[in-house]
Symmetry: none
Subunit: 208 residues, 4 copies
């Protein structure tokens, strides 16, 4: 209940302003932790260094996150929030055809893949981690299901509109596309241009 404030609400009420400060610090810590993970992996995440990067005392960090696990959880939420924002941007422009919407969705993904590759790499580690860490497993699973649902509905509509191949299994195709995008950060020396071409070709394969 401390969240969801926009900047313009900072009125005379001190407690609200405090909350903003509090959340700001929390966010700073989460971002620092994320960057550290991106640089050195989960195994290289050191509470001490996170605190150092935000230039606060270790004890203070523990004031915001009582445990390392909590901080990691914060990073997970942050990343999930990030991709959730990407995945459903089309809601604003519903006038498009499913084909255009899928195209837009792919463009968004490619854009983010290029601009914030770290996010995807860390998400990859998270996904792998989910097999042994029941804390992060459910939230990632849910996010995945939402993504899947979104793609399935898009594909189903596209097939009905005879935009996509009639022999497409929406469920399976969604899985295929997700697997493809998840695998991209695991490509070692790949160029962004190659990714774009691959996505284009893939789109093409779906067409009727």
């Amino acid at each position: 209940m401390k969240k969801q404030m926009t900047a313009e609400t900072s009125s005379s009420s001190p407690s609200l302003a405090q909350d903003t400060n509090h959340d700001t610090r929390r966010h700073e810590l989460i971002v620092a932790a994320f960057q550290l993970i991106a640089e050195k992996g989960f195994e290289g995440l050191r509470i001490r260094e996170v605190a150092a990067r935000v230039a606060i005392n270790i004890g203070t960090l523990y004031y915001y996150f009582p445990t390392k696990e909590g901080l990691i959880q914060g990073v997970v939420d942050y990343l999930v929030q990030h991709i959730v924002t990407i995945q459903a941007p089309a809601a604003l422009q519903e006038v498009k055809t499913p084909r255009d919407e899928l195209h837009q969705h792919f463009c968004n993904l490619v854009y983010e893949l290029r601009e914030t590759p770290d996010v995807f790499r860390v998400l990859g580690e998270l996904l792998l981690r989910a097999n042994r860490d029941t804390t992060i497993s459910p939230i990632l699973q849910e996010t995945d299901e939402n993504w899947s649902h979104y793609l399935v509905s898009l594909l189903t509509r596209g097939i009905k509109d005879r935009l996509f191949r009639a022999d497409l299994d929406p469920q399976i195709t969604a899985r295929t596309l997700m697997s493809f995008f998840k695998g991209i950060p695991l490509q070692l020396g790949i160029q962004t241009s190659e990714v774009e071409k691959a996505v284009d070709q893939l789109e093409n394969w779906l067409l009727a």
Copy 2:
């Protein structure tokens, strides 16, 4: 330097027997390390526990692997060896058409994905790790390139034979397929049957 062999191993070629013993131990340690990584991730790999699982003293382990990095390197080689064996099995039956060979290749991958999922999960972690660990980067990159070359040649032949779509870009398609397979271990609740269907559909998209 080699002295004091236990009586029963003294065969006609003692040095060979020793080497075999030596290699056996090394292999045991590598497998133990791999399993540990599969269970607890790279961050959960403890030299002590590897030694314990093979029931030898830590000091003895250091005789085989002078450093933890060396042991990890051993695991990397072991895994790479594993997938290399998968990726080029068709060499034995060159009579097939490119389409059949690709199908066989996919079947092999799916089979291994189901039988030894741990291998792929750990490989995924390795791939992610390669971005910051220059030790494992080159070997994985090389393996990847070999895989890519194999697929490209297969696709090129298939296109020439009019088995695959004429508009296929072999290079890009190879990347697409690799990305798809790499992304599979990152699918959280996926069933093997779904993977099989996805692969079938994908194969279908390639056809002329």
Copy 3:
């Protein structure tokens, strides 16, 4: 410096009311600290938890007790006050014989031992602590001496009145009785009924 009292406490003498409030808070904190010690021992006493139990901020606690040592001192005073109140209750009815008075004294002790065993356990820890903590040593020593004096005078009178054995050394007997009572909280599985019987028998041993 004193400002902003809540409306309902503004009586005719505000400073007095404040003092009362102040003392009330202090007392609450002391009691909370005592309970914490009783539950988890001195080593388990956490300033933070004391504050939490009284539902105030840590900083506020420091307003009442500028140091942890001070709070502990408060607990010591509180406990000493408790036992002092027990030890000299007979002052009210001086008509009794020494024997009756000693009996009454023992009854009081047994009663408190049963009703507030925590007090005695913590006092035990305090007594042990006194060997290395010169802060609490004097006050406990003084209390002990008062107790000893009280018993000695009682015994002396009783001997003179031929109620107690003539061969009793009052000083030594007092010490014996005190040691006995102090040792009771160190009995692990003892029942109150056993304590009562032991006290009865002990009383009997003193009789002429």
Copy 4:
């Protein structure tokens, strides 16, 4: 199974000698920990200082005691062993009368109380601790019961032999005596001579 070796058994067998070394170190650590507790209480026990006093590395200490709790347990065993040795020394000279044996027992206790007062102080803390620490509770309880049994049997025999008062309740008397001895370390400024006199007088009270 590593214990129970006497010095003269150190033969050529290296493993046996090692065991002795191992146990010696363990014992050194336990003694150091005990002294630290005696000086600063349980709350003042610092693993680092224990290691420093034995002049070994902290990590090495953890080689012998994987946890602080384990070291404390070792101290508990050490102390219990100490008092057990005191409490039943008369077994060697069974010719004595119960009265003499009890006298001897008291003398032993007083002797130890004077020579190793720390042991009793720490035992006192242990007894108090037992109320919240279920780890040490059973072992102390058992020791207590053994002591009680010993006293009861002694008293019972003495009563039958008409050496002790006929109206003595052995069970209750045993408890009384134990309580008395346990309370001695809680006497702040008491002299050994006073303890001796108190014990003498107490013995006297038991006589027929």
